[in-house]
């Protein structure tokens, strides 16, 4: 697995680029063998990965606990949806850029009062933000479509891609896969950006601020600017992820962004591993599989999926997973992986020491 | 009676106490002396169960204190006035005293009145928040709060710290009279070796976590080397 080296800290940007490109290519190749339903799920997972990358950066690297990222997702989604509603011919890349910028701006607005707050104050503040945002959207129903939301369906599969498919469901298959490919590529780009950010000077300053803000200040790091920057980055990632998420659903509406979405995001991030790049991807993959996983558990336990319990199984499982992970493996799946690698590494070192002696 | 044998305490790599053994007997004051960082506070914290020793035993009478929770050690009659006195500033004088009596069998209001009789200044300030007390008043409150539960053992961590010499002398007298009248086992941790040795019966000298001397207070006070190298009592 030499090519995965690029994801390690000490590696340079070009090697990192190669690693991310290889990973993205593998994911793209997988979309060719997946059935359309699975491709849609994969697309959702890729969108969620983008959001978790931002959240992991915010919580894991800057040490600021946010429960507001579902709110930032909503902002990005509405920005994209409303724009696309009025300017249907705008290239998608521009709509996404808009969602990213507007999401980032909403992060700035929340950050200005919030970066002065610590821990639970901050968590509660951001929770209040995400609780306030969807009612606010519903209030301006002439623009946002109120409860029903707005149609967001500007994704067009290019002709050359269409031609790769044949048979009865050619269009459906092509559309599903194109959506997944687009989402995977977007996730790849954001992953690359975040990988560089993690290991940049700013990233190091960010961790210093998290671990010892007094020392950081003495070393000339501007605390509130650094914290605000973390928020803006996380919110723009959430905005982009939210737009992508809504594009996959073809609508933007309030019920896509309930408070429980923040819980889901937190679960996936913690499960994957707080503050790790691979954890965000693991979280996205878990999200992709979650529907299947839940129906599998329902059938294993003999619970009728249409029953009350079956319908709420996902909420129960996610909550329990979150609690268990935090209690017993607070560094998540990526943390377990790192531990295993380190163990092997230190054994190797021991072995070579013995050889010398 | 407190009997400590072979007690070792580590904080990570730091060895704060190394195989410490000594006895403190009822009706006597045992002074524990030593420079900063010698391990005096750690010793008292180990007796109270606030730190877990690596090796060794601590006996209260016949009973081992190993794995007994701090609050239960307190309930067994060990009163501990911690470094910095541990007066709760957000509570009133009376509330602090009440708290000291809660866990014991004594009648609370009688106990409080007895302490006010002993320390009249506390009675005058009974409704004041302790954050407003002076250092000397706080020390008196801490003593009163420890004595109100009629303990068998009294652990004092640098009670003279920050007090004027005259107040310190008063305090030492109070400690001595409490010790004798109640047949208390007193372990008195002090940096101020001079005033501590004046009232103590026995003394233990700690250096870098190990006992370098122990015996009667008079013997320790008379030892030139101890005075010079460990207690800083000889002026050059």
């Amino acid at each position: 697995m030499r090519w995965l080296r690029g994801l390690r800290r000490q590696e340079t940007t070009p090697t990192r680029l190669i690693s991310v490109a290889v990973l993205t290519a593998v994911a793209l190749a997988i979309t060719f063998i997946l059935p359309p339903v699975a491709n849609s799920q994969l697309a959702g997972g890729a969108a969620i990965t983008i959001v978790i990358l931002g959240l992991s950066w915010l919580i894991g690297w800057s040490g600021q606990i946010s429960l507001g990222n579902s709110g930032f997702m909503a902002v990005g989604a509405y920005a994209a949806g409303i724009w696309a509603h009025h300017h249907a011919t705008t290239p998608l890349i521009f709509t996404f850029a808009l969602a990213t910028v507007v999401g980032g701006l909403s992060g700035l607005v929340v950050a200005i009062p919030s970066t002065r707050l610590r821990g639970p104050y901050l968590a509660g503040m951001t929770l209040a933000f995400s609780a306030a945002i969807t009612p606010l959207a519903q209030n301006f129903s002439s623009v946002t479509g109120g409860e029903g939301g707005i149609f967001f369906n500007t994704l067009t599969t290019p002709g050359w891609f269409q031609h790769l498919f044949s048979g009865v469901d050619a269009t459906i298959n092509a559309n599903a896969q194109w959506t997944a490919d687009l989402a995977v590529m977007t996730a790849g780009v954001t992953f690359f950006i975040m990988a560089n950010l993690f290991h940049s000077r700013t990233g190091r300053a960010m961790r210093l601020v998290r671990d010892n803000d007094v020392a950081a200040e003495l070393m000339g790091v501007n605390l509130s600017r650094t914290r605000t920057f973390a928020f803006v980055v996380a919110a723009s990632f959430a905005g982009l992820g939210g737009a992508l998420f809504s594009l996959i659903n073809a609508t933007v509406r309030p019920e896509t962004f309930p408070l429980t979405l923040s819980i889901t995001l937190l679960t996936l991030m913690v499960l994957g591993g707080i503050g790790t790049l691979s954890g965000a991807v693991i979280g996205g993959i878990v999200y992709s599989f979650s529907t299947n996983l839940v129906s599998h558990i329902n059938s294993l336990t003999g619970v009728n999926p249409a029953s009350n319990l079956g319908a709420n199984m996902q909420g129960i499982i996610f909550g329990v997973l979150l609690i268990l992970t935090m209690l017993f493996a607070p560094r998540g799946i990526a943390g377990l992986g790192i531990k295993a690698v380190n163990l092997r590494h230190s054994r190797a070192v021991l072995a070579s020491d013995e050889n010398v002696n | 009676m407190i009997r400590v044998s072979d007690l070792s305490v580590n904080y990570g790599a730091i060895r704060a106490l190394r195989n410490v053994s000594f006895e403190a007997t009822p009706g006597k004051i045992t002074a524990v002396l030593g420079a900063n960082g010698a391990g005096k506070t750690t010793l008292l914290r180990a007796i109270s169960g606030l730190v877990t020793p690596q090796t060794g035993t601590i006996l209260l009478g016949e009973q081992s204190l190993a794995r007994v929770a701090t609050e239960n050690i307190a309930r067994m009659g060990v009163a501990h006035v911690p470094e910095g006195r541990g007066v709760i500033e957000e509570l009133t004088v009376e509330e602090n005293l009440r708290l000291g009596a809660l866990a014991s069998k004594v009648n609370i209001s009688e106990g409080i009145e007895a302490q006010y009789a002993q320390f009249p200044v506390l009675g005058d300030r009974r409704r004041k928040y302790c954050g407003t007390l002076s250092g000397g008043e706080r020390q008196m409150l801490a003593m009163a709060r420890a004595l109100i539960a009629r303990p068998k053992v009294l652990l004092l961590d640098e009670p003279s710290l920050g007090l004027a010499p005259q107040v310190t002398a008063e305090l030492m007298k109070t400690i001595l009279s409490a010790c004798e009248s109640e047949n208390l086992t007193v372990i008195l941790v002090e940096q101020n070796a001079k005033s501590a040795l004046r009232i103590s019966h026995d003394a233990v000298v700690l250096h870098l976590g190990a006992v370098v001397a122990s015996g009667s207070a008079a013997e320790v006070a008379a030892d030139e080397d101890l005075r010079r190298y460990y207690l800083g009592l000889v002026e050059e």
Binding site: Y121, F129, L266, N308, G315, L327 | E71
Partner: protein, 298 residues
Amino acid sequence: MSSFLTSSFMSNIFGGLAQGVIYSLVALSLVIIWQSTHVLNFAQGAMAMFATYVGMTQIDRGLSYWWCVILSVVVGMAFGGITERVLIRPLYGKPEINPIVVMVGFLGVIEAVTTAIWTSTSRNIAAPFSQIYFKAGGKLVLLSPFIIFQIILAVVIMMLVAALFRFTRLGLQLRASALAPEVARLLGVRVNRMLTIGWMLSAGVGSIAAVILASGSFGLFPTNMDGVFVAGFIAAAVGGLDSPVGAIAGGLIIGLTEQFVLAYWSPSVAPLGGMIVLVAVLMIRPHGIFTRSVSRRV
């Protein structure tokens, strides 16, 4: 006089106070456990809601309203105590994100389980007080017997809690454990037990808030405490997370603010009103209005 009572201004005051006391109770319950364990319990609302389901649905079995209220509080207290023992105790001394995450997960579990058991349909819980508004001089005063009951019950509970902390042995030990756990231990206070009792008390107070809310016009449904929790948290933060008096004042401030925003702008932006108050307060005093110490833990 009667025209004063029926004025829209007074109506908003009544409405704001009625809502505000619920927020005050939730804020108070959050402050109780914040003081003792430095955990912000994100599942506070959901736990109270669950206890209310267990207690108040006994009305269907023929239990009277008042017994159901008592049962809800008892269940809530037990639930609070067990939660502290099982979920929170292993997390003392861990980074502050850990208990936050665990309680957020717990919130998800409780709401999903409640929906699985009782469905998401709102159920009506009739308090033995009329919800019909009084009239003065032919016009409505926005006060009903139920609203008066709601305010009185909340105030009584707050006074009981205050008296418990202020005047009892237990209250003194609870305060000492929160203020100086190590010193309390040295004085023989069973601090661990106090932490559990603190959580029980807090959950009991939260349950009263949920019972009042469920007896009102929206009824009882699995997410009915979500918005109230957020508002209660905002209230606690406005007052200062370690000030019980601040929590109560904060609740009233947020209740009134929301009511006026709702009346003069739109119901759907009411939550925003509370948030703006919070932002304004925290800009000036990052630890709330009523906190004594502004010193920061480094």
